[in-house]
C-alpha cells in the first residue's frame, strides 16, 4: 500500500464497464471469423448474395460497436494527468468517491 508504486501503475478503472467494452470489440471479430455462418448465397437482399450484404452490415455494426466501446472506455477509466516530473499520475479527488479506489493519498 505504499504510495509511489501504486501511482506508477494503471489508473483505476471500472472493470465492469471495461468488460462490456471488450465484448463490443470482440463481437465483430468473432462474427467474421465464423465464415461458415455466412458463406452462402441466400437470402438475397436487393439481388446481393447474403455473403456480400452480411459483411457490409458488419462494417456498419463494427463502427457502432467501436464507438460504443470508446464511450464506455472514457467513462470506465477517465484520464488522470501526470505530475510535472512525469513519474506518476495525480489523484483527482473530484471523480473518485472519497478516494476509495486509491487510498495512497494519505501521506502526501
Amino acid at each position: 500500500m505504499s504510495t509511489p508504486p501504486q501511482h506508477r501503475d494503471a489508473p483505476p478503472a471500472n472493470k465492469g464497464l471495461l468488460a462490456i467494452a471488450v465484448v463490443c470489440l470482440s463481437l465483430p471479430i468473432i462474427a467474421l471469423m465464423l465464415v461458415g455462418t455466412y458463406a452462402k448465397d441466400g437470402p438475397r437482399f436487393l439481388d446481393f448474395p447474403f455473403f456480400i450484404w452480411y459483411q457490409f452490415l458488419w462494417v456498419a455494426l463494427c463502427s457502432i460497436l467501436t464507438y460504443t466501446a470508446y464511450r464506455l472506455v472514457l467513462k470506465a477509466r477517465p484520464h488522470r494527468p501526470m505530475n510535472p516530473e512525469g513519474t506518476e499520475f495525480l489523484t483527482d479527488a473530484a471523480d473518485e468517491p472519497n478516494g476509495a479506489a486509491n487510498d495512497g493519498e494519505a501521506g502526501r
Binding site: 501503475d9 494503471a10 467474421l32 439481388d47 470508446y70 472506455v73 512525469g86
Partner: protein, 557 residues
C-alpha cells in the same frame, strides 16, 4: 510516335483523361510543397516535425491521413483485379480484414500512442528498444519493418502504371516514353516529401480520399444500370468463377467460399489485420495524432473506408458482367488494368480522368508516408542506434530526409528495372515477415513476461518458417514459386494464411524459450517505461523533454 501507334491498339491516348490527370497531379504537387507552411512549426529540423507532423493532427486530419495511408492505390488496383480473376477468397477477404482491423487498432494503438508520447518514440522499434533494452531485438524489428515496407512502396508505382497504361501512355518501346511519366511523378513526390515531411501526404490525403469517394460512389450507382443490374452482375460472376480453368482443370475461382476455404478466408482476414499496424507507416500515421483519443475515435469512423473498399471490390465483378478486356499496351491480358479499363469504357473521358487521378494520387500518399516511415526507422534504429549514437535531432532529420530520397530511388529501380513479379513476391513476403514482429510490439504493450531473447528467437523461427513456406507455394498455372500466401496449416489439414501459421510457431517458440531463459536466470534487460505511461495523454509531460539532444534516457524514478 511509337507510343501513339501502340496506344491505338487499346483505343489510343485518351487526351482528355490524360489532361485531367495531369492537372490534378500538378495541383497536388503544389499542395505538397505548400504543406511545409501548413501549421508552420518553429523548425522542421527534427523527426518530431518532419517525420510526425509535430504529433499535432486532430480527428479529421488523422482520418484522412490513415485512410489515405492504409487503403493504397495498389489495394484499389489489386483487390478488384483479384475479384475479377480469382473471386471472393482472394479478393473479398479485404472486407473482413478491414473490419477486424479496427477493434485491434482501438485496443493496441492507443497504448502505443501513449507510451510513444511520453518517451518520444517515432518508430515501433523505438518502443521495443525502450521496453526490452535489447539492441538485437530492436534491430530485428527495425530491419523487418524496413524490408517489409520497401516492396510496398514499389507496388504503389504499379498503381500509377496501371492508370497510365489505360490512358495510353507508358507502354512505348523506348525508355523515355515508357518510364518517363512514372519517373517524373516520383521525382516530384520525392521533392515535396523532402521539404514538407509528413505534412505533404496529410494535405494530399484530403484530395485523394475525396476523389476516391466520389469516383466509387458514382461508379457503383451508374455502372450497374449499364450492365443489367446487380442481379446480372452476380450471375455473370458466378458463371465465370464456376467455369473450369483450361490450364489447371479446376474452377476459375470462388463466387462464395466453399467449405474447404473457410480457414483460408478467416486467417487471411485476421492475419492481415494483425500485421497491418506492425508496418512502420501505419505506426507513423498513428503517432502523428495529437491525442490518445484521436486514435480511438478514428477506429470508430475509419470503417467508412472499408465500406468503400467493399464496393470497389465488387467493381471487379461489374467488369465481368461488362465484359471488360484488360489488355496491356504490350497486348497481353493484365487483370490489374481491369478497374481503370472499366472506367475508360463506360465513363466520359473527363470523368475517367478524375478516376485515374484518384488512383494515381492514391499512390502518392502511401508512397510518401511509407518512405518517411522507412527513413525514420533507418535513422532512429540503425543510424542513431549503431552508427552515430550522439546524433542531434537536426542531424536525425537530415539523415531521414536523405534516406527518403534513397528509398524512393530504390523503389523506382525495383519496379522499372526488375520484373514486376519481384515486387509482388517481396510484398507477399513482407506481409509474412512483418507479422513476426507482432509479439515484440504488442506483447510488450502489456507484459514483460516474455524474455527478450526468447522474443528474438521466436521472431527467427517465424521468419524462417514463413519464408520457406511462401517459397514452396507453387502457382499451378505458371509453376513459379511464391505462388500465393496460403498453405496447409501443419497438423490441421486446413489451408491457412502462412503469416498466421508462422506467428503461432513464433509464439510457441517465444513461450518455450522464455521458460528456458528464466530457468537459467538470464539478464532481463532494463525497462524504461512505467505502467502509467501506457495511459498518458496529450499534456502529460514527456520523459526526455528537458534533454532534446542526448540519448533517450528514462527519468529516475
Amino acid at each position: 510516335m511509337s507510343t501513339l501507334k501502340l496506344a491505338q491498339a487499346t483505343g489510343g491516348v485518351n487526351v482528355v483523361a490524360l489532361t485531367v490527370l495531369i492537372v490534378f497531379f500538378l495541383a497536388v504537387a503544389i499542395a505538397g510543397f505548400w504543406a511545409a507552411r501548413w501549421r508552420r512549426p518553429a523548425s522542421m529540423d527534427s523527426l518530431e516535425e518532419w517525420g510526425l507532423g509535430g504529433r499535432s493532427f486532430g480527428t479529421w486530419v488523422t482520418w484522412f491521413l490513415l485512410g489515405g495511408d492504409l487503403y493504397t492505390a495498389y489495394t484499389f488496383v489489386a483487390v478488384p483485379a483479384a475479384m475479377f480473376s480469382l473471386g471472393a477468397v482472394s479478393g473479398f477477404f479485404a472486407v473482413p480484414y478491414t473490419i477486424v482491423l479496427y477493434p485491434i487498432i482501438f485496443v493496441f494503438m492507443s497504448r502505443l500512442w501513449s507510451v510513444s508520447h511520453r518517451h518520444g518514440y517515432v518508430t515501433p522499434a523505438d518502443f521495443v528498444q525502450g521496453r526490452s533494452g535489447s539492441r538485437a531485438l530492436t534491430l530485428a524489428v527495425a530491419v523487418t519493418g524496413f524490408l517489409a515496407t520497401m516492396p510496398y512502396i514499389a507496388l504503389q508505382l504499379v498503381g500509377i502504371q496501371a492508370v497510365l497504361e489505360v490512358a495510353g501512355v507508358g507502354g512505348g518501346g523506348n525508355w523515355v516514353a515508357k518510364d518517363a511519366p512514372i519517373f517524373i511523378a516520383f521525382v516530384v513526390l520525392a521533392l515535396y516529401t523532402y521539404t514538407s515531411g509528413l505534412r505533404a501526404p496529410a494535405i494530399i490525403a484530403f484530395v485523394k480520399d475525396i476523389l476516391i469517394y466520389i469516383v466509387i460512389i458514382v461508379a457503383v450507382i451508374y455502372l450497374p444500370s449499364k450492365v443489367g443490374g446487380w442481379g446480372n452482375i452476380f450471375n455473370a460472376a458466378q458463371q465465370k468463377m464456376e467455369s473450369t480453368n483450361a490450364v489447371t482443370g479446376k474452377a476459375t475461382g470462388a463466387f462464395i467460399p466453399g467449405a474447404g476455404q473457410y480457414w483460408a478466408y478467416a486467417t487471411l482476414a485476421l492475419g492481415s489485420a494483425m500485421a497491418l499496424f506492425m508496418y512502420p507507416h501505419s505506426v507513423t500515421a498513428t503517432l502523428s495524432a495529437k491525442s490518445r483519443n484521436t486514435i480511438r475515435k478514428n477506429a470508430a469512423i475509419l470503417p467508412a473506408y472499408s465500406f468503400l473498399l467493399g464496393l470497389l471490390a465488387l467493381l471487379g465483378w461489374v467488369a465481368i458482367a461488362a465484359g471488360t478486356k484488360p489488355i496491356g499496351l504490350d497486348g497481353k491480358p493484365n487483370p490489374q488494368l481491369v478497374v481503370p479499363q472499366l472506367f475508360e469504357d463506360f465513363f466520359p473521358s473527363w470523368f475517367a480522368g478524375v478516376a485515374f487521378a484518384a488512383i494515381a494520387i492514391g499512390a502518392l500518399v502511401p508512397a510518401a508516408i511509407m518512405s518517411i516511415a522507412a527513413s525514420n526507422t533507418f535513422t532512429r534504429n540503425i543510424y542513431k542506434a549503431w552508427i552515430k549514437p550522439d546524433a542531434t535531432p537536426k542531424q536525425e532529420a537530415k539523415v531521414s530526409k536523405l534516406t527518403s530520397l534513397v528509398v524512393k530511388a530504390f523503389a523506382l529501380v525495383f519496379v522499372l528495372g526488375l520484373d514486376k513479379t519481384n515486387a509482388l513476391n517481396f510484398q507477399l513476403l513482407g506481409g509474412i515477415w512483418i507479422m513476426q514482429t507482432f509479439p515484440s510490439i504488442v506483447f510488450y504493450l502489456y507484459t514483460r513476461w516474455f524474455h527478450r531473447r526468447a522474443l528474438l528467437l521466436g521472431w527467427a523461427v517465424g521468419m524462417v518458417y514463413g519464408t520457406v513456406s511462401a517459397y514452396n507455394v507453387v502457382n499451378p498455372a505458371t509453376k513459379a514459386h511464391f505462388g500465393g500466401s496460403v498453405a496447409e496449416i501443419p497438423g490441421l489439414g486446413e489451408m491457412g494464411y502462412i503469416a498466421l501459421t508462422a506467428f503461432v510457431l513464433n509464439l510457441i517458440a517465444a513461450v518455450v524459450f522464455t521458460l528456458v531463459f528464466r530457468a537459467f536466470k538470464a539478464d532481463e534487460g532494463k525497462d524504461e517505461t512505467i505502467p502509467a505511461d501506457f495511459f498518458a495523454d496529450a499534456g502529460d509531460p514527456r520523459v526526455e523533454k528537458l534533454d532534446t539532444s542526448g540519448p533517450v534516457t528514462p527519468s529516475s524514478h
